[in-house]
C-alpha cells in the first residue's frame, strides 16, 4: 500500500513522517514519536485514555488514522502542560489527591482543559458531561469533579 508523507504540528513542533494508510494515530504517537501520555485502553473509543487535542478539540486518537493528522495541530498532555487552565487544574488535582493509578489522568486533564477553555464557569452538570467519556476505575470520580469545580471557581 502506498505510504503517505504527512506533516503536522505536534505540541507546537513540526513533525514529518511517512505512514501507512492503516496506521492508527495513537499507535504512531506512542510508537514512533515518543508521546506516551495518550494510552491504549480499549481499542474502541470507549474509555477516553487515548484522548488528544486535534485542531483544538478532544478526539479519540485510537479511532483516527495517522494520515488524518496531516496539516493538523495535535496537542497531547506533554504539550498542554504549559497551558493556563491545564496548569491550574493540575495544581488542584495534586492538592486534592484526585487521581490514584493515574492511567486516566491525561485524558481527563485534556477533557477538563477543553471544558474550561470553552466555558470557564461550568455547572456541575457541564463538568460531568465533559469527562463522561473518560473512564476511571479507581477514584469513583468525586475528587476529580470537585477538583475541576474548585479550579473553575479559582480557589
Amino acid at each position: 500500500m502506498k505510504p503517505h508523507n504527512i506533516q503536522f504540528s505536534l505540541n507546537g513542533e513540526k513533525v514529518a513522517l511517512s505512514v501507512e494508510p492503516s496506521d492508527v494515530l495513537l499507535d504512531v504517537l506512542r510508537g514512533r514519536l515518543g508521546i506516551k501520555s495518550p494510552k491504549v485502553g480499549c481499542d474502541r473509543g470507549d474509555c477516553g485514555t487515548c484522548t488528544v487535542l486535534m485542531n483544538g478539540k478532544t478526539i479519540r486518537s485510537c479511532l483516527a488514522l495517522a494520515v488524518e493528522a496531516d496539516g493538523a495541530e495535535i496537542v497531547t498532555l506533554e504539550g498542554a502542560n504549559s497551558r493556563k487552565w491545564t496548569q491550574k487544574l493540575q495544581k488542584t488535582f495534586h492538592a486534592k489527591n484526585a487521581f490514584q493509578c493515574g492511567f486516566c489522568a491525561p485524558g481527563v486533564i485534556l477533557s477538563a482543559t477543553e471544558l474550561l477553555e470553552k466555558n470557564p464557569k461550568p455547572t456541575s452538570h457541564d463538568i460531568k458531561e465533559a469527562i463522561a467519556g473518560n473512564l476511571c476505575r479507581c477514584t469513583g470520580y468525586e475528587p476529580i469533579v470537585e477538583a475541576i469545580a474548585e479550579t473553575a471557581k479559582g480557589k
Binding site: C42, D43, K96, G102, R137, E142, E146
Partner: protein, 800 residues
Amino acid sequence: MDLQKLITKPKKSAKSKKAGEELTVVGQSVPRIDGWEKIKGAARYTDDLEFGPGLLYAALVESPFAHARIKSIDISKAEKLHGVVKVVTGGNFTQKFGLYMNDRYVFATDTVRFVGEQVAAVVATDPKIALRGAGLVKVEYEELPAVMDAVKALEKDSPLVHPDLKSYTHVPWFFPKPGTNIAHWRKIRKGDLAKGFKDADLVMEDTYTVPRYAHCAIEPHSAIGLFDASGRLTMWTSSQSPFTQRHVFAETLKSFGLSHKDVRVISTYIGGGFGGKAGVTMEIIAAALAIAVPGRPVKLLWSRAQEFYNTYQRLGCTAKIKMGVSKAGKITALDFKLHWDSGAYVEYGANVVNAAGLSASGPYKVDNLSIDSMCTYTNLPPCGAYRGFGYSEFLFGLESHITRMAKELGIDPVEFRMKNAIKEGDILPYGAHMNPTGIRDAIERVRKEIRWGVKEKSKDPKKAIGKAQVCFWKSPAMPPNASSSAFLKFNEDGSINILVSGMEIGQGLLTVMAQIASEVLSVPVSKIRVETPDTDRNPYEWQTVGSHVTWGCGNAVKRAALEARERILDLVQRVHCLDKSTLYLEDQHVKCRTKPDFALRFSDFVINGIQADDHTFKGGPIMGSGVFMPEFASAISDPETGQGGHPNVHYTTGSAGIILEVDRETGKMKIKKVALAVDCGKAINPDLVRGQIVGGLLQGFATVLYEDMRYNEKGRLLNPNFSDYKIPTVMDMPDQVVPIIIEVAQPDGPFGARGVGEHTMIPCAPLIANAVEDALGVRIKSMPVTKEKVALAVMAQGKR
C-alpha cells in the same frame, strides 16, 4: 467534603510513640508523592517503556472452543510470512505452573479448556505482522463435551476438565477430589449445627447467585521479556506481584537454566490492578516467548477483549444458605454451601474459595457453623483474585438473608446486626480469635448517617425510597509466611530513598510508606522517594494483594526506618558521648533532651560520617533494612472441620448503609446517599482511605447494577468490550457518599494501621438488594440486580 472520624483511644502498643509525642505526618492527608508524575503525564506504565527498534511483538492464536483436543497445529504458513521471527506452540513449553496449584500451561498442550485459551503465538517485527501471522496458523481441533455450570460440573456424568487432577502439586491446605471437577473443598465445622437449628425459632433456607465479573482496570495487561546472551531473563510487567512472578518464571522455566537470581522482574506504575494483575496470567507467555527469541526483547500487550476473556475473572458463586435465628434475635445456626465456578484453571481461584470458606459467616458471632466452599472446574475462563476475594460473593447471600430473617421475626435488621456483631476475642470459624474491631461504632455511625428507621418518601410519585444497612469484613488471604521487606538509605542532602516491592497500584502505597518513614525519621515526605519494584534491587514482597501492604510493607518500612534511626543514635552516642536515651530526631536534626543547644543536621553526616575532634570520621552511609513476616499464622487445619489453624492475620470490619430511590415502573435505581464506615486501625493518610471508600463503593455498585457478563451456550464471552460491559462513568456517581473512618488500633500494625482497600466494595450488593425490597417489596436473589430485573420483578409481583 469533610471526613468524619471517630477516634477511639488506641490500645497500648510497643510501636506507638511515647505519651505526649503527637504524630506529625501519620494521620495527615499529604499530597501523593507520585502525584505530579501522573498528573503531568510523565508516569511510565509498562506499555510506555521503550526498547528500541529491535523490539518484537507477539500475537496469539486462541482456541475457539471451550473444550477440545488439539489434533494438529500447522505453523508453516505463518513462519514464512515476511517479518515473522518465531512461532511458538504448546509443544515448545510443556511445563505446568500455578500459584497455589500447578494446573496451568504456558500454552495449551493437547487440550484446550476455554474459549480464548492460548494455543500458539507468533513473534514478529511489527504488531500488524504478528496479528496477520497469527491468522495464518492452522489448528485442527476435535471438539469435546464441555461444562459451563459449577453445579452441573458436580454431576456424575459431567465432562472432566482435569482428568489428571490427582497428579497436580498444590499447597498443603487445599483438598482436591481427583476424578471429579472439585479442585478444592474447604470445610468448616464448628459447634453443634443440629442443636443450633433445633434452638432456632425461625429457620430459613434459600439460594443466591452471583455471576462472574471482570476487573476492567483501565490499563490492559502488558509484559516485555528479554532473555539475553548471559542467560538472564528480564521481564517488565504490569504486575501486583513482581516477586511472585519471578518465582513462577524461575520455577516454571528452570529447565532453560534459570535460577531465581537470573530472573529479574521490573514493574513500574500500574494502571489499576484490583487483583487482576496479581499472580501470573499472560506474563508467563511473554517469558516463554523471550526464551524462544534469545537476545531480542519481545512485547505482549493484551487487547481489551483479551482483558475480558483471558485474564482472571471474578469467580461465579451459587450460595445455599440455611440459617437459624432465635426470637431474641441471635443467630443460632448457619449452614452455608458455596459452589464456585472457578473456570478452566484454578491455580489462584482455589484460594478465593478457601478464603471465603474460612470467613463466610461474616462479622458475626456464630457458634454453630457449617461452611462448605467448593471450587469447581468449568470450561470457562480461569478465575482468580478480584478485589474482595470471595467476600462480596458470599456477603450478597448472607446479608440479604439476615435482613430477610430479621424482618420475618419483626426485629430491626440493624439492631439484629448490632446484637450479633463479632467482638474482639470471639472465636472465629476456624478456631482462632477475633482481633480488635470498631464494628459497633461503625454500625452506629452509619445508622445515624442514613437516618435509619425514618421512612422517606420520594418527591416523585413514580419513585419509592428504600434503605438498607449491612456489615462487612475481610482478612488478607495469604500464605501464612507472606512477607514484606524494605531497604532505606539516606542521601547527602538528608533525603531518603526507600526500596520496597509493594506495588503502587493507585492505592497510594508509595505515599503511605514515605509517611511512615517520615514520622520515624523526621524527614519531610517531600524529601522521600519510594521506588517501584525491581527484583534485583528492591527486597522481597510477596504480593500487593489482600489489602495488606499498609500493614505488612508498612511494618517493614517502619522497621527499616527504626533501624536507620538506631544507627544514627548509636553513632551520635559514640562520637558525642551523649546518652542514647536522651537523643531524639526532629526536623531532620539529631537533638538532645539534656543538651538543648545540640542539633546535628542529617545532611552533615548521613553519607560522610561524623568528624571527630581528632579529624577522623566515624560512621558512614546511614541505611536500614526491615523485614516483616507474621510468625503467628498457620494454614494447617483439620481437613474435615477447618479447625486448628490461624490462617488469617486479622480482619478489617465495617458497616455501610444506603438510601436508594427506585422508579417503580422502569426499575431504575438512584443512590441518594451511601455511608460507609470502616475500621482501618489508623488512617495513615485519610485522603487515601477516602479514595478507597469512594472508589470501591462505585466499583461495587457497578457489579450490582449494570455489569453483566454474557456467555453463549458454547462458552464464548459475548461482551468483551466497554460498549456492552458497562463500568461506571462520572454520570453514575451516587448523589452523596459519606466516608467514615473508625480507628480501633491494630496492635501489630504500623501506628495501629490495618488495611483498607477491598472492603469498600464488599457490602454493595446486599445493600441494593435489601434497599430494593425495602422500597418495593420485591426480593431479588441473583446478581446483577439490574433495573430490568427490578422492573420485571415488580411486574411479576403485581400479576400475582
